[in-house]
């Protein structure tokens, strides 16, 4: 993605010989850099609008707020470094946001694929705090047990469709699947979680009565 106008190097690149800064220039060009100050402003505006939704997506898909923090930062850093990332000025914020969600989805997938062993010290405090029933909101009480029974991919699809309001085609772009597959998978996932939510509602109502 070529920049639309005059391209100025970032401040640190002035300190490097051309050959050294060459790769960085390419990366900057990929991110649609026209002017560093403008880029910073545009990015800050984009970040302020997209960071919270992205964090919500990561936190709900992974059920781990600390992991969501890490992956969110990593997603933005990769977005800024990616040579093929959509330019905010040229391609628009919607395309940039889709690209960002795609990076986050891939990072989550990589995280789930990675074999890991966790000690008790590594588990974040929020994990234990969240398990306290008294501090949970109604949505958490009903949705979280149901989400926990869903597969990671189903959680991601459901969140993108029903929380972010993305179309099948947009979800397909984010998840790297075909739109037809998304339609079927989403239908199944929605059926499954609806049944679970109804069960939770019934159990919750019974619990309140008793």
């Amino acid at each position: 993605m070529a920049p639309t106008g005059r391209r100025t190097r970032m401040s640190w690149e002035f300190a490097l010989p051309d050959a050294w800064a060459g790769g960085a220039q390419d990366a900057a060009a990929g991110a649609g850099v026209c002017d560093p100050a403008m880029e910073n402003e545009a990015f800050a505006a984009f970040y302020s609008r997209s960071a919270r939704p992205l964090w919500a997506y990561l936190a709900r898909s992974s059920a781990d707020p600390a992991l969501a923090d890490d992956l969110m930062q990593e997603s933005y850093v990769r977005f800024l470094c990616a040579a093929g990332a959509p330019a905010l000025a040229k391609d628009g914020e919607a395309a940039a946001r889709l690209y960002l969600f795609r990076i986050a989805t891939n990072l989550l997938r990589d995280y789930w694929r990675r074999p890991r062993t966790a000690s008790i010290e590594e588990i974040p405090e929020e994990f234990f705090a969240a398990s306290s029933h008294a501090t949970q909101t109604e949505a958490q009480i009903l949705l979280e047990p149901a989400l926990r029974q869903m597969k990671p991919r189903e959680r991601q699809m459901l969140w993108l469709a029903h929380a972010e309001g993305y179309s099948h085609r947009e979800i397909a772009k984010v998840m790297g699947l075909s739109a037809a597959s998304i339609r079927l998978l989403l239908f199944r996932a929605r059926r499954k979680i609806a049944a679970l939510l109804r069960e939770c509602n019934v159990a919750d109502a019974d619990g309140r009565k008793s």
Partner: protein, 178 residues
């Protein structure tokens, strides 16, 4: 499980997305949703997810964008430096390969004279006799009998060149940062 879609699905989805369900919804559509499983699922699931989204947005604590810009710049700089360092690594590998070839060649030449050179006593004698032999060689070279000592030059020049090359490689590897 059959993929059955409802004609009202899109409308229900739009109402949910705009937050107009159930207040701004026609009575007929509400009646339809209460009897349609697909639309009922959409209403139930979308309602739960949108509520969860509102809570999650409030819970998010994003870092300052400047931190991310700085981290991205740092990563791009490191990538650029890595790209520059790649040919240097190639040069190091090439120098090592040349040194190894020279060592193997030298060992091959010496092996022609038998395997005696592999013994300790051979090298002991060689070190003892080397100063005398070198002095004799130098005398013969300085006396101008170059024609007679052609073979000696053929051995001496590559040996010195190999030593210089090896020395350069050793110095470079010793001073190179990891």
């Amino acid at each position: 499980m059959n993929l059955t879609s409802c004609t009202y699905e899109k409308e229900v989805r739009q109402l949910m997305a705009r937050g107009q369900w159930p207040d701004a919804c026609p009575v007929e559509l509400r009646a339809h949703v209460s009897g349609c499983r697909t639309c009922g699922d959409i209403v139930l699931v979308s309602g739960a997810f949108q509520q969860a989204r509102v809570e999650s947005l409030a819970a998010a604590r994003p870092v300052a964008p400047a931190v991310l810009l700085w981290r991205a710049q740092l990563r791009r700089r490191n990538a650029a430096m890595e790209r520059v360092a790649r040919p240097l690594l190639g040069a190091q590998i090439f120098a090592c390969a040349v040194a190894l070839l020279a060592a193997v060649g030298f060992a091959g030449l010496e092996a022609r004279n038998g395997v005696e050179w592999l013994t300790w006593s051979y090298w002991h004698d060689w070190f003892v006799q080397f100063p005398q032999a070198a002095a004799a060689q130098w005398d013969s070279l300085s006396s101008g009998s170059l024609a007679g000592s052609g073979l000696t030059w053929m051995v001496l020049v590559p040996t010195v060149a190999t030593l210089v090359l090896l020395g350069g490689v050793v110095v470079y590897l010793a001073t190179d940062k990891p």
